[in-house]
Subunit: 368 residues, 2 copies
């Protein structure tokens, strides 16, 4: 079952009289947020479940916009009778701050100059993303969340939320997340950013005004990142060394895995923005909430229940990331459960349905 | 001990009257080869050990060119009293066909046009590289090799050599090598090539004539590849999340691991060529000698002794690559030993000295 036809809504959450104060000190105004909701908020306003998307996601998590064959990115998880059951929960799914799918981000127009912010956009922290999520809840008249669910960067937002607003999230589901990136994680993102920043079409992030886009840089970034999102096993099973032709070797695309990466890049260019890629990867690089020794205690003290799910083939944020996060919360007296799931598909397993995965989430959202 | 001052020699091995016939059917002429030698060829001419370099290596494997603080890339392995002992062995180390350090490659001048071949250079196979190595031996008056040693792509050349010229290599040391790349291996190389091929300064490989170079593409290729050459553990130990400054977050280089990758890229640009990167990675992609069911038998029948060395932290060509290669040779009745060495440094361990590594090579070269 699908939630069916849905539409993305937009709301201005911060304006001239009420600017967004970022943790780095800068003010941002206006801030518009795109979001979708599925299901019905009950009279007690206590059945809301918040969805936080990953690096390249958007507000359109479930249902469709007119073409049922093109559902939202987490449509297998969210819907009537699904693990995030829209017959029971009121689901809120925004595009995050810094995004490029309706929420204010670095490619939005800077009212002070009348052109895109580009590299003039202030750097964001994970707390800034959470601040805007919380403002959206205010707008919707919701004080506390029955639950919040997010994968990868989405899970990181929820951890920060539990630290910044203890108790507001009653049940936190952190899938394939991390409490801090490793040097290798940062390294991969650094290469992706180099490809974008040094693309001659980048124009300091104001490429739209120049009538161009850093498509080469963003393609390379996406292709490389995609390799890290899937397991070596998956690529081997799916493509092996199969070629598209029987002809002689050639320099251009020939192996099926090359064709697959080309396709990943071109569909990505149709839907994503290079500036957002830069800013959101940087949010992840600097994320390290437990560097504050009191953070885990704050998150633990107000009874938030945590579920960390990891996948045993994930080599982007391998199991030890979730395990460490879990240990931090446990050590602070938190209510935390870590489950490592068997899945052959790597980091992107969070978008798929390995055995037991959705059941874990459904069961957890039912917990008292 | 070092072999001391050495110089690179050059020789034209194929000319108009005697062109190099490539396995793909094309002819290449002239073909010049840069090489170095260390030690002394004995009167019986039976003490030669051949060195095959990896993707980004060159002929300058040992000793120095005038500055002892800048030795060759395998100076820890090759020298008086070293594992490849130049007091006993006559060591030959060429730059391979398609290279950019003195041997004819895609950035060489095409005599037919008077400008660089660029993408007009014919695609090469591993056998073509071996053919030129063998011609160099002819030039040096050497019929058989006491041994051949190579890491990564270098090991792959030696495997092909043992198949193409059974018995000519008496002892084959294949370090961190593979008999065929996986889909993930090909994928990483495909992204690197995309970065180069789509760099607007690439000019179909004739960038020199345009007075430019695809530095952005080659930098991105190198940075990404470098991540795959080292272990996550090594990056974590060496850099962790250390920053260069205590200041606020910034988009530009800040974490030490970013600075390290920047440095890797800039030193690489000083010594390497984008066309060669394209052509040699493609040689590796298509390499699959055991697709010929008789290949292993040919290699095994003439008594070549094989030693495959792998490193337990290598995730570019993990241990299973060497294990599979070994199994192919064993199944064909070959004389093969596979040793997996404990090393924390990943694929690049072949350039370093994890415990037991050099001893394995030294001992093996002494074998009857």
């Amino acid at each position: 079952m699908s939630v069916g036809l849905v539409s993305t809504q937009r709301v201005v959450l911060y304006d001239e009289g009420d600017p967004l104060l970022l943790s780095g000190g800068a003010k941002l105004v206006p801030v518009e947020v795109a979001y979708e909701t599925y299901g019905t908020l009950n009279a007690a306003r206590d059945n809301a479940v918040f969805i936080c998307h990953a690096l390249t996601g958007d507000a359109h998590a479930a249902g469709h916009h007119g073409d049922p064959s093109r559902p939202g990115w987490w449509d297998n998880l969210i819907g009537p009778g699904h693990a995030v059951d829209t017959d029971r929960w009121f689901v809120v799914s925004p595009n995050l701050l810094g995004g490029c799918q309706g929420t204010t981000g670095p490619s939005s127009t800077d009212p002070a100059t009348g052109r895109a912010y580009g590299m003039g956009f202030p750097l964001l922290s994970m707390s800034d993303l959470v601040t805007v999520h919380r403002r959206l809840l205010d707008h919707l008249g919701i004080e506390r969340l029955h639950g919040a669910v997010g994968g990868s960067l989405g899970g990181m937002q929820i951890l920060q939320w539990a630290i910044d607003a203890p108790g507001q999230v009653e049940r936190a589901v952190l899938v394939a997340a991390s409490s801090k990136l490793t040097a290798q994680n940062i390294a991969f993102s650094a290469v992706a950013r180099t490809a974008i920043l040094r693309d001659p079409e980048f124009h300091d992030g104001r490429y739209a005004a120049a009538g161009t886009r850093p498509d080469v840089g963003l393609s390379v970034a996406r292709m490389m990142a995609h390799i890290t999102y899937v397991s070596e096993h998956l690529l081997g099973e799916k493509f092996g060394r199969e070629r598209r032709s029987d002809g002689p070797p050639r320099m251009g695309t020939d192996f099926q895995v090359e064709s697959y990466l080309d396709h990943q890049a071109s569909t990505f260019l149709d839907r994503f923005d290079a500036n957002t890629y830069l800013y959101l990867t940087r949010v992840m690089d600097y994320f390290d909430p437990f560097a504050d020794p009191d953070a885990a205690s704050r998150a633990a003290a107000y009874g938030t229940r945590f579920l960390e799910l990891s996948f045993d083939s994930d080599w982007r944020f391998p199991t030890h990331h979730s395990a460490r996060l879990h240990e931090h919360l446990l050590a602070a007296g938190g209510d935390s459960v870590h489950v490592d799931l068997a899945s052959p598909w790597g980091h992107d397993s969070f978008l798929l349905q390995p055995p037991g995965y959705h059941e874990q989430i459904a069961h957890f959202l039912e917990r008292d």
